[in-house]
Symmetry: C2
Subunit: 894 residues, 2 copies
């Protein structure tokens, strides 16, 4: 017979799989001799058996009976005894905290008889007894019997109105006795039966209701979003009730062993006299700071402080605690490793390491790249004036300030005039894409972190707060009203914090991240506590990591910044950006060329300009490798948009103002127009079809290299051929580059050293990676394109049109453009690594897609043996940290 039930004294903190998080920690505290109200845990095994069989597993009832009997014996009370009842709480407790589930039923064991016994043992306090009973009815009714909690709230409100009060405490014992009857009526009406008077029946029903709550839609959705497996099940904690609401010598509180906002040392928490835990959460009365407890009850306070100290040393981490004082006696109701802000995470990990509680490996493991990234965003100045008018979900980080606009056309129009705008919508749809592009921030009143607005905003790097459902938006009137009555009309300034989800009236002052200021060389930032913590942990991560970190940078300025941020070279320098701006005209000449001579002239004109670009970049990255990708995008990207031009020409023809040049341009655009430019004439195909194009670029790179050598520099260029699908393509282009190198070497008399390699960004390149590796010296995985081709969708087209639906339905847990799809794209990367290295064991391998800066993906790239990741300059510190964490602790980035 399986064992399903465990006393608190039987388990420990390592048994979260079996006992759930809450139960394991209660057991741990019990084992440490801390004052935990006795109780027992029904294990997750029981829940899984229940879910599999669809009924209570055999033997569970008996086992519960045995543990209950032992508890009754220990406490000298019987569950629901009419004279002196044992009362218990029933709480769900899964391995991972799941706010989407049923949480708690208190006071199980009360009924029409035992309520009197409770009053008696509480010194005749009938008010307390009936208040406890009505709480049981309310919680049991809503969480076990599934009645809307508003049904109970309405009855309570009506009573309070009748009594002319707003506070529960003003209700008398008689009032509450009446309320109990009203609640019983509500239950009878909505549940089709009476509230069960049998205490054991109450207990059993509550336990099964907890099991059932594992599979509610809300719980499933939550798990899908948090990537929690569906087959874990939940444990149930049965715990003797203790009461903080039995008088002024009682109370309840929550505490943190350090400040969870900043990580500063000291005791943080709140205490509420004469109250139960739910009252603190409900915020019905004002709490006092925890420190005040010292005055209220020094003995309890001292014991608590001692316990907190022991817990922190025992858990070696910030602990989050719930406790109750019952007539002067301290009871520990819960502890767990506490949630904290990104800043606190760094400071706490660093300080624990300095205190010698943990080593630096562990400290680095306790902070994440995602947290570091948060710390690097600009944020609202702590000291600035601000008026919080609402809060939503922190869907895409950053601090954005702008004028509120209520539709996309207005956003586009105002942005075009140079205004910063915040697009405010109930929800966004693909139609809003242009508005989202134009806005600096997006605010919605509906939808969660996988809503259209959230997904698209993250994809575009726009600040976004979503699901701020307290805002009442009136689109007709072009305004919204906050919960506090503040009205924001179109054109009024607002500020949104995508990192916290806060919404402010007016323009809150934005300040740069102190961490970024430090990296950028601001001496005044060096003494900051946070900076000290970050640099200490980064230094350790740098020492541990196997992966090098490079940056994607196209200009000398970006290259220099990347270097300040710790980049060990450039992994992707995109040359097409050098074809824009005032050089666009030269590119137009190249495209419109009608003879090889004209084509040649256009290329010749571009050569010196490209060369200067490369000299600057090689100089900024002197001594470090610079991977330069030859031109990749289709040529028509350098020409006007087809449809716009067609409309313009049609218009000009109407008015007889059309010019031959425009017609010629339209012809070229039409000729180069592709139904699917992503799948068209681009990358190495351009190099093969347009003679001289890649040669010109190779010459510019190699002439720049020679110039740098003559200037005494140490240029380390790596020439990268994009979009290779077949080894023959690479070999043809390599031969051209080698021949140009010979010419430049002769002309400049410089000893040129460079590498030549390719991007792996097409599935076919993966399949023939062994062939390609015969002549390529390095591979750089272009995981953006590889993701597009592997899934068969283009980011620009589909992120807006169906990703939010896909995330909602759990088809993928996170956009494969945010975090590498390990099963599909990752499997291809691993295959190319293995094929390539088989042929060329010293093949240099890196990644230059945006995944190079994504924490999860970095751990994957480390695990398959890449040599480096490359990401945007601002992501370099994140990548350094995650590469260190990956080296130290394996493959989990959370």
């Amino acid at each position: 017979m399986a064992k399903y039930v465990y006393d608190f004294s039987e388990g420990g903190m390592d048994q979260k799989d079996l006992l759930g998080g809450k139960g394991a920690n209660l057991a741990e505290m019990t084992g440490l001799g801390m004052p935990v109200p006795p109780g027992f845990i029904i294990s997750t095994d029981a829940c899984r058996a229940f879910l599999a069989e669809g009924k209570e597993p055999a033997g569970l009832a008996d086992e519960v009976g045995e543990h209950l009997a032992r508890l009754e014996k220990e406490r000298g009370k019987t569950l629901g005894d009419p004279d002196d009842p044992l009362l218990v709480s029933v709480r769900s407790g899964a391995k991972f905290s799941m706010p989407g589930m049923m949480e708690t039923v208190l006071n199980v064991g009360l009924n029409d008889e035992s309520v009197k016994g409770l009053a008696k043992v509480a010194g005749g306090d009938e008010r307390f007894a009936y208040d406890s009973y009505r709480r049981l009815l309310q919680m049991f009714g809503s969480t076990v019997l599934g009645i809307e909690s508003s049904e109970f709230a309405e009855v309570l409100d009506a009573l309070k109105t009748q009594r002319g009060t707003k506070a529960d405490l003003d209700l008398t014992a008689d009032d509450l006795r009446g309320l109990v009857e009203s609640y019983k009526d509500v239950i009878r009406e909505h549940a089709g039966g009476d509230f069960p008077q049998d205490p054991r029946e109450q207990l059993d029903m509550a336990v099964l209701a907890v099991f059932d709550s594992w599979n509610t839609d809300r719980a499933r959705l939550y798990r899908r979003q948090e990537q929690i497996p569906d087959d874990l099940g939940t444990a149930v904690n049965i715990c003797t009730m203790v009461y903080g609401n039995g008088g002024d010598d009682s109370g309840t509180g929550v505490a943190f062993t350090r400040d969870p906002a900043t990580g500063a040392q000291g005791v943080y928490g709140d205490y509420l006299v004469n109250a139960q835990g739910e009252d603190v959460v409900a915020g019905i009365r004002n709490t006092v700071p925890l420190a005040d407890l010292e005055q209220i009850d020094k003995a309890a306070y001292d014991e608590l402080i001692d316990i907190m100290d022991r817990l922190e040393k025992h858990y070696k981490d910030l602990c989050d605690i719930e406790f109750t004082v019952e007539h002067g006696k301290l009871w520990m109701l819960q502890t767990r490793v506490g949630k904290r802000t990104a800043e606190a995470a760094f400071r706490i990990a660093h300080s624990f390491a300095e205190e010698g509680l943990i080593d630096l490996d562990e400290a680095v493991n306790r902070v994440t790249g995602a947290q570091l990234a948060q710390l690097m965003f600009p944020r609202f100045d702590d000291k600035a004036e601000r008026h919080l008018i609402g809060e939503g979900m922190n869907a895409s980080p950053g601090a954005a300030v702008g004028k509120a606009v209520f539709d996309s056309p207005t956003a586009v129009e105002w942005a075009a005039k140079g205004e910063d705008v915040i697009l405010v919508r109930r929800t966004t749809t693909p139609d809003d894409l242009s508005g989202m592009v134009a806005a600096t921030g997006i605010l919605t009143s509906r939808g969660g972190k996988t809503s259209h607005a959230a997904v698209v905003a993250r994809g575009m790097g726009r600040t976004c707060v979503c699901g701020a459902d307290e805002l009442e938006i009136d689109f007709e009137a072009r305004k919204f009203t906050a919960a506090d009555g503040t009205v924001i009309g179109e054109g009024d300034l607002i500020s949104i914090d995508g990192t916290t989800g806060e919404i402010f009236e007016g323009a809150v002052e934005v300040m740069d991240s102190v961490v970024v200021r430090y990296f950028e060389g601001d001496e005044t930032a060096a003494g900051d506590e946070l900076v000290r913590a970050v640099t200490a942990l980064m230094e350790h991560a740098d020492g541990e990591r196997r992966l090098a970190v490079r940056a994607n940078a196209d200009t000398p300025e970006d290259a220099a910044r990347a270097r300040r941020f710790g980049a060990q070279g450039i992994g992707l320098c995109r040359t097409e950006h050098m074809f824009l701006g005032d050089r666009r005209e030269l590119v137009e000449h190249l495209i419109l060329a009608e003879t090889p001579e004209q084509q040649h002239e256009a290329l010749d004109a571009l050569l010196p300009l490209q060369r200067e670009d490369f000299v600057g970049i090689l100089e900024a990255m002197d001594g470090l490798p610079v991977t330069i990708r030859l031109i990749d995008p289709p040529l028509h990207e350098f020409l006007p948009d087809y449809t716009e031009l067609a409309v313009r020409v049609a218009h000009e023809e109407e008015h007889g103002t059309d010019e031959p040049r425009t017609h010629k341009l339209l012809d070229a655009v039409k000729r180069l127009h592709e139904e699917n430019p992503m799948l068209g004439l681009r990358g190495v195909r351009l190099g093969i079809v347009i003679p001289g194009l890649f040669k010109m670029q190779a010459r510019a790179i190699l002439e720049a290299t020679a110039a740098r050598i003559h200037e005494g520099g140490d240029p380390q260029p790596e020439i990268m051929i994009p979009l290779v699908a077949a080894s023959q393509e690479f070999e043809l282009m390599k031969a051209e580059v080698i021949s140009v190198a010979g010419e430049v070497q002769k002309e400049t008399n410089a000893k040129l050293a460079f590498k030549i390699g390719t991007m792996i960004e097409l599935p076919r390149a993966v399949m023939v990676a062994d062939k390609i590796a015969e002549s390529a010296e390095f591979f750089s995985f272009g995981t953006n394109d590889l993701t597009q081709m592997t899934w068969g969708f283009s980011r620009d087209d589909v992120e807006a049109s169906f990703f939010s639906t896909y995330l909602d339905k759990g088809i993928f847990p996170v956009s494969p453009f945010e975090s590498l799809d390990v099963d599909g794209v990752g499997a291809l990367v691993a295959m190319a690594v293995s094929k390539g290295r088989k042929v060329r064991p010293d093949l240099h391998l890196g990644v230059c897609g945006e995944h190079g800066g994504d924490p999860d993906s970095i751990h994957f790239f480390d695990s398959v043996g890449l040599d480096y990741v490359s990401c945007s300059p601002y992501r370099v510190p994140v990548a350094r940290l995650e590469a260190g964490r990956s080296a130290g602790t394996g493959s989990d980035s959370r």
Copy 2:
């Protein structure tokens, strides 16, 4: 020491690798005791050594010397002896015939002295001796010394003009003696030295020139196009000269053991009295039919007929023969398995099998699907009047008749008026795409089978003749002039035969293929010899093959035709075609729907129409499986083109004639517009994002199935979900279909049986094929899309823009859309097969991309274990034949 040289008596027909095709067959005939002029072969080993080392391999000269000495001894003559010279021919001969290489130098051994000896032993025939000498000079000059042959032709033409004659035979011995001197001057002038008088030096130079010719650009290009490996090398044949030009008792001829055009039995060939072989090829004089030789020289004729009979029985195939009669003595100069037309291939293979020379396995192996495909194209009526005005390359098969047009805009304009046009261009470029689409046929005067015109025409299935370089095209005057002076102006009718490369003036009558007529049930075709051969071989192939063959068909008519052609079901029924025509308006309603209700209404209106479609198809394929793909293309394909509509709206706005409906349409088109529709919202994504869409289609299929059951039919629908990338997508849609099936079953009371599976057309589906196979009952490989995603190019966009360059540069030997790319796409197919079958051993596997009808690809699909291929109805017989060949003989489709 390696052995490099072999006497004819040492080798045999199985040694083509070592001795080349020509040498191995000469050796075989020698071994059979047939009259072959004695000689020896320098092996391909020697050529490979020469190419590797860059110089004549050690020992070769000595070995040639030994064999030469033996030959001289046997013939009792010395090479170049001034009194009675031994003369030899030097011919290249690779394993595969390669017209791109240097072929022949005759009369090696003649010089200023030995020419007199030759005259002497020829009974004082100085004319013959000097004619032979000038031929040596001409061939040696052009093929060994690399002088343009026109240099020699000009001198000869000048001489003939001077003598007032057009025939070589009218030139006297003195004329030819003078010509020898002129030719020697040409050589001195262009080769920078005198013609070598040393006979052995002539021989050695000729041998090395043959080796060198292996690597000319022309030869390399030819090999690339024919997929002949570059490392084979060529052999060189040194053969005693015999002369057919020594008088009227001499002559030369070519012969076939059966009619290579039709395969009919009997002796076919041409004979030319008093001539050397090159004269026959040059067509300088008219030949007589081979049968006439019986009158001219009965002994030689009888011996030849006897030898031909022995050869055919020995080679068990049609033989192609070259021979010479020298003063009444028959000499065999060459034999090989003869080339033949598609018709002859079938009739010969069938007849050899009937004669018991080969078995049916071998007979089926001797015909190809490509030949069968040729036989199924309409062709010009043999009996129709025709005037041949030129010939080019048979670039894309078919028979096309239309008015000549000389540019693409005209082609488009005339085609729009309902005219059939043939687009005539020097070459085509991507700019001509619209014209090529509009034309029924394409004719170019430049470029080969990998030219832009050829590649694009094959891709589109347009008839194309290219590289017809005798046509003089005058674009200014919009006309072309044929070699015979015929002038074709714009609008004049021409006919082009893409199967033969012929170009005719006027409209030649086109007739349907007798094979197709037979399949279509025309009784009168059953007796045709070709039909008898085809059906006999097809029957054998059907008995042998493991692969089933289905058809892609979207209408009852196509389904019925496919069945007549032998299809064993439908592998791909595209439902989107059912959304076109007069139903487009309903689809517009669906797309423009603004509420779920409107969307629902639109779907409800489509349901009965779709159901009727399915009833018809299931009826046509009663008892056989019908795989129906739910809607795949992006919805905007059902709306007007974005750019055209934008221009129209702009125009209407100018004139104030714009309507709200057009604006609404433009809005919808703009909203649905995708930069890369191929990578957008399509396939299963539509099913997930538009609630009810796939459900409506599933309901239509299942209601049709129920209706067929109630009519007593045996419907076997298979529902296919397109564009699946993740198992979750499939599972969501499968659940919808299963739930609809439950409803329909209840409503109709019919016992519904159906399969549900998916297309594998995205690389990601391959990587997770095992996951998908857990719930999918079948996979159908969509190799068109899989090729597009794997290579990262879209057929529509790139075939025109760079495929011809890619084929020319040998990046791929054939478009991966024509024949499956085995290394890339094929490897993915094999991976999905293995992953899928591991999870579900009875997983049903097929292919429904266009590769399903391509011979090479069919052999590959057979080799990886698919269950069926599906192709267009007209390709079904081709697929049946190739599936049979693959089962019988392995994996080569040629």
